[in-house]
């Protein structure tokens, strides 16, 4: 099986750069999620690989061979579309089999269709036309069509976008093993960070046509490359405050809404920094009624339960708003309460205010 490689791919439509110097390799059997806000160029990227547009610059290789310029039907690509794109005038069976028939696969077509459709649990609707299928069945038919030919490269363009929450959840559990079945290189476009984390081996974060970070899901969540990436991962999203950290007594401190809080330096050397963002995830905030020098006083504006958590909207004395996500089993505070907010220094992330890039402090000097 073959590896998919993008090398310095660029594409512009008019003055809009949809792909800017994109380089990415997807190993065979690997699932890479392309994740980013809408309009970041995810779909254009997928369509360049599929051959619907050609890149302006750079090269796209499958198994070491360039596929730029080849017509879509000769690229060995299977693709599932957001709007399913089933052939409306063909039965589900013919939809699924169309690729095999084009290749003249011969007698084993029926057996292959039967096996993939039982895997996707659509064996009972094979004779239906797309308009007679439920959304979930349409989506499974589209997946079966993409998977059946064991393509070298599988492209999935937000395939769960148009199915309801319950089905989306089920598919999130099933998809990884389905996609790994044929050891294709898989690119999976999504706008939902949870879906990306659940399904992918690695996530490629695409913002405004640029790959900002490519890493394993845990790593992106824990060590986002920039403040923009940090804001994309997590729901509710990360809390941010403008600070200018100072190093004192071997530790790093910053002022948030009038309170001096200690920030994380890990095993690194604390040094004075310029204008920064400090970011703390809502899950990492600790809320109590106990005042203290290290706690930021806040008023609870509202409590909004969310996924078995209670999300508190907190307003600091300077008017800034932060969110805290607490396990809903603990009823710590109600709306209008005055509370105190703390977080462990290790939970804080620092970003450069001007560039948004996460700040890695220098290594501690070795003790002589």
């Amino acid at each position: 099986m073959a590896r998919l490689e993008l090398s310095s791919v660029g594409k512009a439509f008019g003055s809009v750069r949809c792909a800017d110097n994109l380089s990415l390799a997807v190993e065979s059997g690997e699932i890479v999620a392309v994740f980013g806000p809408s309009g970041s160029g995810k779909t254009v990227l997928l369509r360049m690989i599929a051959g619907m547009f050609e890149p302006d610059e750079g090269d796209i290789l499958v198994g070491g061979q360039s596929i730029v310029g080849a017509p879509p039907e000769r690229r060995g690509i299977g693709m599932a579309f957001q709007n399913f794109a089933l052939f409306p005038h063909m039965s589900a069976r013919d939809n699924i089999a169309s690729g095999l028939r084009a290749k003249g696969a011969g007698g084993d077509i029926a057996a292959k269709v039967a096996s993939i459709s039982s895997l996707l649990k659509i064996g009972h609707v094979l004779d239906h036309r797309p308009r007679e299928l439920s959304n979930g069945q349409k989506q499974r038919t589209a997946l079966a069509r993409a998977l059946i030919g064991n393509p070298e490269v599988l492209l999935l363009d937000d395939p769960l976008r148009n199915v309801d929450a319950k089905l989306r959840y089920e598919m999130r559990l099933e998809l990884p093993s389905l996609l790994r079945r044929g050891s294709a290189s898989v690119l999976y476009v999504t706008q939902d960070y949870r879906e990306a984390m659940a399904i992918a081996d690695r996530i490629a974060v695409l913002i405004e046509g640029r790959l900002v970070q490519v890493a394993r899901p845990e790593e992106i969540y824990a060590k986002p490359a920039s403040v923009a990436v940090a804001r994309l991962f997590g729901d509710p999203s990360i809390n941010l405050a403008e600070v200018t950290p100072v190093a004192e007594h071997g530790a790093l401190f910053a002022d948030i809404a009038g309170t001096r809080v200690r920030l994380d330096t890990g095993d690194r050397e604390p040094i004075d920094l310029g204008a920064c963002w400090v970011g703390v995830r809502p899950d990492d905030l600790v809320i109590s009624h106990a005042p203290g020098d290290d706690a930021i006083p806040a008023r609870v504006v509202a409590v909004t339960p969310m996924h078995e958590k209670a999300v508190l909207l907190l307003r600091f004395s300077d008017g800034a708003e932060w969110l805290a996500a607490l396990p809903s089993t603990t009823t710590v505070a109600d709306a209008d309460d005055n509370v105190f907010v703390r977080f462990a220094a290790e939970a804080s992330l620092l970003f450069d205010r001007a560039t948004g890039v996460r700040i890695g402090l220098p290594h501690r000097r070795q003790a002589a």
Partner: protein
Amino acid sequence: MEHSSLAGRIFRGVALTLVLVFFMFPIVWIFLMSFQSNEQILRIPPSILFEPTLSNYQALISGQLRTTAGNIDIPFMRNLMNSFVLSSAAVLLALLLGVPAAYAFARFKFKLGETIAFTLLSFRFAPPLLVLLPLSLYYQQLGLSDTYFGIVWVYQLIALPLILWIVRGYFEDISPDIEHAYRLAGHSWREAFTRIAVPLAGPGIAAAGLLSFIFCWNNFVFALILASADKQPVTVGALAFVTASGIQYGQIAAAIVLSVTPTLLLALYAQRYLVEGLSLGAVKG
């Protein structure tokens, strides 16, 4: 609104009847006239009571027009046949040229694309007389004057823009992803066009074909100028009923009934398609 008063319902009934009478009356009257002799038609006061006669239809089918000034030969059946041949051939040619062109306009953005598409449509706006004079000169030079091919060619001015714009709307309604999916399954663009795009736009192509058939059938002025008697369609042929000894109303009526029937049946049969086609694919079924 489900709660309408009795008065409202009566008013609606009356209004509908009036509209129906207004539009249907001429058709009914012509139909009745076609079974009357010229004398019955012209008597005063007119009456709807008469003894029906088939003589008008007989005259048309036999090609012998009896007038007070003697018998005149009229090639009505040949005209009818010409109408069929010319309209069908024109539509066929327009479909062959127009469907691929409509696909190109729908799928690809190219330089001057919109301009070309609009220019083609604008042929429908121009009065035919505007182009007829130069055209008849060209035709004489090229030897196309008074040939079937020449008339079919000039009918493209009617059929092609219609087909182009209606079918283009239908192609635009098909998600390009469906064709992309078909190509990724291993088919060339020709196959994607013939097996996906054309079948899916089928209703639109049918509507456009039917509409342009009707428009070609109803055309008068092109054939009047560019064709001689033996190649003229019914619309022009009907002129023969205006004779030296007066106008043969009964035969005209019968001729109208015969020439309208095919298109009327066609229109009734494909009513829904036609409405969709006329709204350029905007109405989805």
